[in-house]
């Protein structure tokens, strides 16, 4: 520290240059052994606690036989289909299909959609009738309609027109696409007509209430659709979900007025349960029978993007990011001490005598502590995704896939979370001039609020949601990478990895707090005697 002060004193002409100030603050930082050690410990704790956390979870696979689940969960190497966009998807349904070579138009009328759900606490009966304990209830996102898909392989590109349990007619495509059509409930008195028209790679969906007046719902282009596609009626019904529980459901739909290019009604159809042999028992085998031109089809599962939730499909690769909480407390201590130690030792008077522009001193301190903790954060967080994901996989967990770009965003985001929180602690230390109070305040605003909202979960959902929107704890949203989809029924809570704000929006809230605190700190630093 002494060396810096001599330099700032002798090179008088240059002493207010911002670069000089940053250099002075950097010299102070690197020459205090405790802070350097603490920064290294912060990075090491982030990595060590994170990898420990990632080595914990274990998922056993539930073997599913033709009659539903059979036998106890066993170690496995789970997998999950991946959609055309690279995201994990659910792709299980009952499909009554035939080949469609070239272009054409398929039309059906749906007159009924009913559903049954398994009871709470796993109610799949052993034996030939796994659904015997089910009760009548239709899932809001149960789906029945017509689908055109590249193949019956899971994860294939598709477009579908469907009636849903509670969300009217929809056109959905390639798992994430969803366009609403006719709203309202369907009944035998008020059936729904659905039509899909294929022209090359382009599919257009229409709906109608009477079979004569048709409305276009949407047009999509499915890249790389083969010449011959599979097409026909389908039914599926997603698992019911509660915060800690889920179970399979089935739906049954009645189709008539089936029109397919070049065929007589009722001839040449194949029925198949797509993906019903999934290791997670959220999809039961389906069935269909045709009488004359009327098809009665029963299916179970979902055609939709998949994410973490009570159905326990898999885990996000960011389990290890919990290590950032350990790193966070360390960087908060370092950030606060970076200014309070100067007050404690009286060094602040020398600092301000050497550089009278007090706001710039604070800015230089923020730049140094932010950069150092960012680098430490990158070093600590970098191993968490590749090593953490392989640890999770080695314990039988399916890990939701992410692109290389997302991986970079997550590591940089966690490092930035540490850096901005350290700057917030620096500002709090300047405002309070008191390390213990500043550290407790910032730990409370970040870690303790997260603790109250997520692991403790005593707060009602609304209050926790509000806290994770307006407090600095909103910044933790940066670790979410599997998005929440309105068209998928799931429990979208922070416990399952879904935050109320989008990743960068949440991070922005934290930045606003840090900026506001830094402004207040600069004003107080100018006004008060040091």
């Amino acid at each position: 520290m002494t060396a810096t002060m001599q330099r700032s004193g002798t090179e008088a002409g240059n002493r207010d240059g911002f670069g000089r100030l940053v250099h002075a603050e950097w010299t102070k930082f690197r020459t205090v052994r405790g802070w350097v050690i603490a920064t290294v410990i912060g990075a090491a704790l982030t990595a060590a606690v994170g990898l420990y956390a990632a080595s914990g979870p274990q998922t056993g696979c539930q073997p599913v036989g033709p009659n539903g689940p059979s036998g106890p969960p066993a170690p496995c190497r789970p997998s999950n289909p991946v959609g055309p966009g690279g995201e994990a998807v659910s792709d299980s349904y009952y499909f009554v299909h035939r080949a469609l070579p070239g272009n054409g138009s398929i039309t059906v009328r749906v007159t009924s959609l009913t559903g049954r759900k398994s009871p709470t606490g796993g109610g799949i009966a052993p034996g030939p009738n796994p659904e015997q304990n089910f009760t009548t209830a239709i899932q809001p996102w149960a789906k029945a309609g017509i689908i055109v898909t590249a193949s019956t392989r899971q994860g294939s590109p598709y477009a579908a027109m469907m009636i849903t349990g509670d969300h009217g007619v929809r056109m959905q495509y390639n798992y994430t696409g969803d366009t609403p059509g006719l709203p309202g409930a369907m009944s035998a008195a008020s059936p729904r007509w659905l039509r899909l028209v294929r022209a090359g790679d382009t599919l257009t969906g229409y709906d109608s209430a009477d079979g004569t007046r048709w409305t276009r719902v949407g047009t999509v282009s499915l890249a790389g659709l083969p010449a011959t596609v599979q097409a026909g009626p389908f039914v599926t019904s997603p698992a019911w979900v509660q915060p800690q529980n889920s179970g399979p459901t089935v739906a049954t739909a009645v189709f008539d007025h089936v029109s397919f290019p070049g065929t007589a009604p009722g001839a040449g159809w194949h029925g198949a349960s797509i993906g019903a042999n999934a290791q997670v028992a959220s999809s039961l085998p389906g069935r269909f029978h045709a009488t004359g031109g009327t098809f009665t089809v029963t299916g179970s599962g979902d055609i939709a993007p998949a994410g973490p939730g009570p159905t326990n499909i898999g885990r996000p690769a960011d389990d290890g990011f919990v290590g950032a909480f350990a790193g966070l407390i360390v960087v908060i201590v370092v950030g606060a001490m970076f200014i309070t130690a100067e007050y404690r030792r009286g060094l602040i008077r020398t600092t301000l005598a050497a550089a009278p522009a007090r706001g710039r001193v604070l800015a230089a301190k923020a730049a140094v502590v932010g950069s150092v903790t960012f680098v430490a954060g990158v070093i600590g967080a970098a191993p968490l995704i590749p090593v953490g994901a392989s640890l999770l996989r080695s314990h039988g967990n399916y890990v939701f896939p992410m692109s290389a770009l997302t991986e970079v965003r997550l590591v940089a985001g966690i490092a930035a979370l540490l850096a901005i929180t350290a700057v917030l602690a620096l500002a709090a230390g300047t405002i309070l001039r008191h390390a213990a109070g500043a550290i407790t305040a910032v730990v409370t605003l970040t870690v303790v609020i997260y603790f109250f909202s997520v692991p403790l979960a005593v707060l009602p959902a609304g209050a926790a949601d509000w806290l994770l929107r307006v407090t600095p704890a909103a910044g933790f949203a940066i670790q979410q990478y599997v998005p929440a989809y309105p068209q998928v029924n799931n429990v979208y809570t922070p416990q399952h990895g879904y935050f109320p704000l989008a990743p960068w929006a949440g991070f922005g809230v934290l930045c606003l707090w840090a900026a506001a605190a830094l402004c207040l700190a600069a004003v107080l630093l100018r006004r008060r005697d040091a």
Binding site: V49, D319, A436, G437, T440, V454, V458, Q495
Partner: protein
């Protein structure tokens, strides 16, 4: 020892922050407890399995952080100002100094903790019946005449005192208020956050058994006692062991090292 106690009491009493911090302990605990009590509601008995005793004492989670500041400053403040050298010159028996500090800090924490707990239970007693938590729905009246509620309430006061002793020991061991408060808060809050991601229930339960906060706060449990990771008094014992270990480390450092 009496002079040591008197000296420590004078130092703690005359610090400008102590009074405010003790008010902060009471305020943080009571406000959070009352807010959580006011935010829950039980419309039908089937869908709210809540431990009302524990719920009415939720503010402890925040109040303990303020208790930790009080205790950490009692030691760390002297190192910050250099006062510790005067203290040790006047009172060369260093163990006695730490014991006197521990006694004084414990006494003020017990006083503030009693007010905080009484305020929280009072708030729960006033608020919760209006939100459906009535004896008719199967919830006991939050009365200190109820043995379980009394155990939870007195146990919470003891919990806060043990947190103070833990913080005091850590502060004496690391000799710096900032590092000590970081260590204490990390120790308290990291265990439950780790429990959240420990996917295997066995590991999660084990973490809850050894964490100073997770084990210690089982003293507030009034329902489902058979399924707790650790019994109420055994849990408080775990926290006492942490506090004893921290005080031992603090004593050794204080005796061995130059101030």
């Amino acid at each position: 020892m009496r002079t040591a106690l008197h000296a420590e009491w004078t130092k703690l009493r005359t610090l400008p922050g102590t009074g405010w911090l003790l008010i902060g302990v009471v305020a943080a605990t009571v406000i959070i407890s009352a807010a959580v009590s006011a935010s829950v509601s039980c419309s039908s008995p089937a869908n709210c399995h809540v431990d009302v005793t524990k719920l009415s004492l939720t503010g402890t989670y925040l109040g303990q952080a303020v208790v930790a500041i009080v205790a950490v400053l009692a030691v760390g403040g002297e190192y910050a100002t250099g006062m510790i050298r005067t203290t040790l010159a006047a009172m060369p028996r260093r163990t006695a100094v730490l014991a006197a500090k521990a006694a004084v800090v414990t006494a003020v924490t017990l006083a503030a903790g009693t007010l905080a707990v009484l305020g929280s239970v009072l708030a729960g007693w006033l608020i919760l019946p209006g939100h459906g938590y009535t004896p008719a729905n199967g919830y006991p009246v939050l009365s200190l005449a109820n043995g379980t509620v009394l155990r939870a309430a007195t146990g919470t006061v003891l919990y806060l005192a043990l947190i103070a002793l833990l913080s005091l020991g850590v502060a004496a061991a690391v000799r710096d208020a900032a590092v000590a408060i970081g260590a204490v808060l990390g120790l308290l809050y990291l265990f439950p956050i780790l429990t959240q991601v420990a996917g295997s229930p066995g590991i999660a339960r084990h973490l809850q058994q050894i964490g100073p906060m997770t084990a210690g706060l089982e003293i507030q449990a009034s329902t489902g006692l058979r399924s707790l990771p650790i019994g109420p008094w055994a849990g408080l014992g775990v926290l006492a062991a942490w506090a004893a270990a921290a005080l031992l480390a603090g004593t050794l450092v204080l005796r061995r090292r130059d101030a």
